[in-house]
Symmetry: C2
Subunit: 492 residues, 2 copies
């Protein structure tokens, strides 16, 4: 299989597409910009979702579900919000089809026109805050800590599987608070949840920071983000958590009576991650042989491949041993498959599971059994070792954790080596064009300069890192004074 894959060096972008398609994660659908998430890709998303969902519940959140459709006028109630989303909306205008009286097949029934058009949700702040108005009267009703798992639609013209699609799956948390401080604390807490998830489960180091005004969510006072680094040196925004101030409360007139019976507007946050994380996962870890899945969220953690010869008795012994291993590994909560499909050869299977990024492969042959060993291969390092069958399940269990840790360490080393401090425009440009990665540089704090730099280099300010060191310096473009470095990068 692997020889059909494009290598990263040849064509990084094609390599990515090959992995998504041939790795069985997703494919393009007949509907422009919409993808089909295939069973293997969806199993990965389910594992990610289940971990995140648990983390959300442990921090006191509950799930709920709000309508797919948003009345057109709702979008407009928050001025910068509509500005941000109007250009990429799927608009429902009719509610019925009919047979063309002129024989042209099925057509939209012109008599079934909606009085007000409906937008397929690109995000749900507006419909949710119009609902919260009915839920909130007093401080006793606060906080509201709600999350929704949903599909959303943003009509992108240039799409890429997982990274940018017209429809994608995500979660969106929407919380309501009595005080500004509490809302900001919630925003930061959820950013931490995302960072923990990215690092501990996806084995992907991230930098926590705050977006500049230019890059802020449409309707937010502050957008916090986690930024990850891909192997081609480009950054990828992996999750955002927004402090929305009282913007949506004001747009939808959501007020509450505090303990002293003063009437105040409610404070809001929203936060989300999406199936885009799967794109990040692929580009953070995979190699020219295929996907590399971090064990903790891998759809399949261990595959056992039998090496049969023509001896039926030996075959039975292999099957028995494999069956026993499967049972023992499952008892440890490990996701394992015994692939005894006779229609493909072991070599083909090896390549296939490498392509799919299964962390550990166990090969079992007749001679192995005689020697009381199995061949255990790890996907991350592409090494294999003959390993005693005694205590094999403990060994595999520990190996999965070691792989998880190793993947994180490798990604962290790469990321850390890809942060470059520069103090001149020449260095800035040559770093971007050379090794890429994050460029830590001084910026004069104006949107104008930020725009110019973006125009000239395609690099954007990914974030102002949290707990950033204060340091006097001069803006790399204008030479104007600056108090801290920010992180620039070209990004997905």
């Amino acid at each position: 299989m692997a020889d059909n894959l494009t290598s990263r060096k040849q064509d990084y972008s094609q390599w990515y597409n090959d992995l998504v398609l041939k790795g069985g994660l997703a494919e393009h659908s007949d509907v422009r910009g919409c993808m089909v998430i295939k069973p293997y890709g969806f199993a990965l998303w389910e594992n990610m979702r289940d971990v995140l969902d648990k983390m959300f519940k442990e921090t006191g959140h509950q799930n709920a579900y709000f309508p797919l459709f948003i009345p057109k006028s709702y979008l407009s109630k928050e001025a910068s919000h509509v500005e941000g989303f109007a250009k990429e909306c799927a608009v429902v205008t009719h509610y019925r089809l009919k047979n063309d009286p002129n024989g042209g097949g099925v057509i939209v029934d012109p008599e079934a026109k909606l009085e007000e058009e409906l937008i397929v949700r690109p995000t749900s702040e507006t419909i949710i805050w119009s609902t919260y108005k009915g839920w909130i009267q007093s401080y006793r009703d606060l906080p509201i800590l709600v999350n929704q798992w949903a599909n959303v639609v943003r009509w992108e013209m240039r799409t890429r599987l997982f990274l940018r699609t017209a429809e994608f799956l995500w979660q969106e948390g929407h919380t309501a608070h009595a005080t500004k401080e509490e809302a900001i604390a919630e925003t930061v807490q959820m950013l931490d949840v995302y960072a923990t998830f990215a690092e501990e489960y996806m084995a992907m180091p991230v930098i926590k920071g705050v977006k500049t005004a230019n890059e802020r969510f449409a309707g937010a006072e502050d957008t916090y983000c986690i930024e990850a680094l891909m192997q081609d040196g480009k950054a990828l925004q992996a999750g955002t958590s927004h402090f929305l101030g009282q913007n949506f409360a004001k747009a939808f007139d959501v007020k509450f009576a505090d303990k002293n019976n003063n009437i105040e507007y409610v404070w809001a946050t929203s936060w989300g991650v999406s199936t885009r994380l799967i794109g990040a996962l692929i580009m953070a870890h995979s190699d020219d042989e295929g996907l590399v899945m971090p064990p903790r969220i891998a759809p399949l953690q261990v595959v056992i491949v039998p090496i049969y010869n023509k001896d039926a008795e030996a075959r039975q012994k292999i099957d028995d041993k494999a069956g026993q291993l499967v049972k023992e590994l499952r008892a440890k909560g490990i996701r394992v498959k015994f692939d005894n499909d006779d229609t493909s050869r072991p070599g083909w299977k090896f390549a296939e599971y490498e392509l799919r990024g299964v962390p550990v492969r166990i090969a079992l042959g007749a001679r192995d059994l005689e020697n009381n060993v199995a061949e255990v291969a790890r996907r991350d390092e592409k090494t294999k070792a003959s390993t005693s069958l005694d205590g094999l399940t403990d060994y595999v269990s520990a190996l999965l954790e070691e792989i998880q840790q190793n993947m994180y360490n490798k990604a962290l080393a790469f990321r850390d080596a890809s942060i470059t401090k520069v103090d001149s425009w020449e260095e800035f440009v040559s770093t971007l064009d050379g090794k890429g990665g994050f460029v830590a540089a001084h910026w004069d704090g104006t949107a104008e300069t930020e725009d110019k730099i973006k125009e000239m280099t395609k690099a954007t300010i990914r974030c102002i890192p949290l707990n950033n060191e204060q340091e006097a310096g001069k803006c790399i473009l204008t030479g104007n004074p600056s108090t801290q470095r920010v992180l620039f990068a070209r990004a997905y």
Copy 2:
């Protein structure tokens, strides 16, 4: 709380609405026909979904995700399918909004008109079979056993929370098989999964059967169903499993090479249950005091309500004991909450948890502790008993199972008493108008008679029960010969 509820006798329909709204399950949204599923209602759906998902996976199915949108022309490819769904479609015609140059706010951008309109999926057979075309070449690619959890939209004009809404949540299984026999076996297997789920988890007895041609899914060869009985004597279709024959394979040209290299069309099934089940659950079990939740899927299984007096030391003892109980119950996997909120009185809490249908309530007061007892109340029978604190968690654990069984038995007794055999038109009408329920009657097997009966009485044939007894008789309307009784009822 309960005195604000409408009773079933007063107004059954209003009673249902009261329970949904005041029980905190769902509410109407500002978007016509779309509901907001509130956290308590969504937690119930999550429990139902998790059980079903496990049952699907245990029968070999995997989840995947297909696009929300379906090109208009796809719907038309299967003739009866488009006939069934064209009249209730949400149609996307544009992909952008813009500012009205005449100052009329945000308007649909007429220049952003789609070449082909997109339908928001009412069901996904068409988009999925157009995808399967790419997945299936040979018998080795079969069977495909895929399920999707998704939102769907059917533009209903008269909506009711959970029972009939424009948007609802559901799962839809879509499988592809090499033989007719295998596809039929899958259809029946999934009907059994649904029946098991309804009976063992929802405590709701169902009748398994086959729909008449009139009531068949648009595009199916045969529709299998489970039918449940509500307390007002009306039937409710709780789940359907369709044998689709080769209809969609032919519509989307999906063929495979069998073992002998003959090229054949693929056989299909689809099967689904939706948030409608929540409506069924409410109407099967609840009473004039509120919801009654079957323990196995109840969002909250046990609530502990402290009865404080003014003694701080006694309060501490109650809190300690409650904390210990919570820990022990959680260790048994029981969903429990200790409601020590000081802002409401115990009586208010009792009514509130009754309204929400929490199966078991434990009240703990200072005197109870002195006597080493707690007051344990069960929601289904509205009885309570002073119970020893020794072994209380075992007692509660067994009680939950007893409640589950009792709810099923009660519903079964009611359902069985509501099946009436009739042999004349007069009896038929008087039964429908009187006790209601299922009416087992002879029918001549024609769609014409079925339509007439529906027109005259609003009763439909709910199903031809599986393993139906053969019995010669005469059609209640036409007197024409019949070989078996079918089940009629008025239905949701």
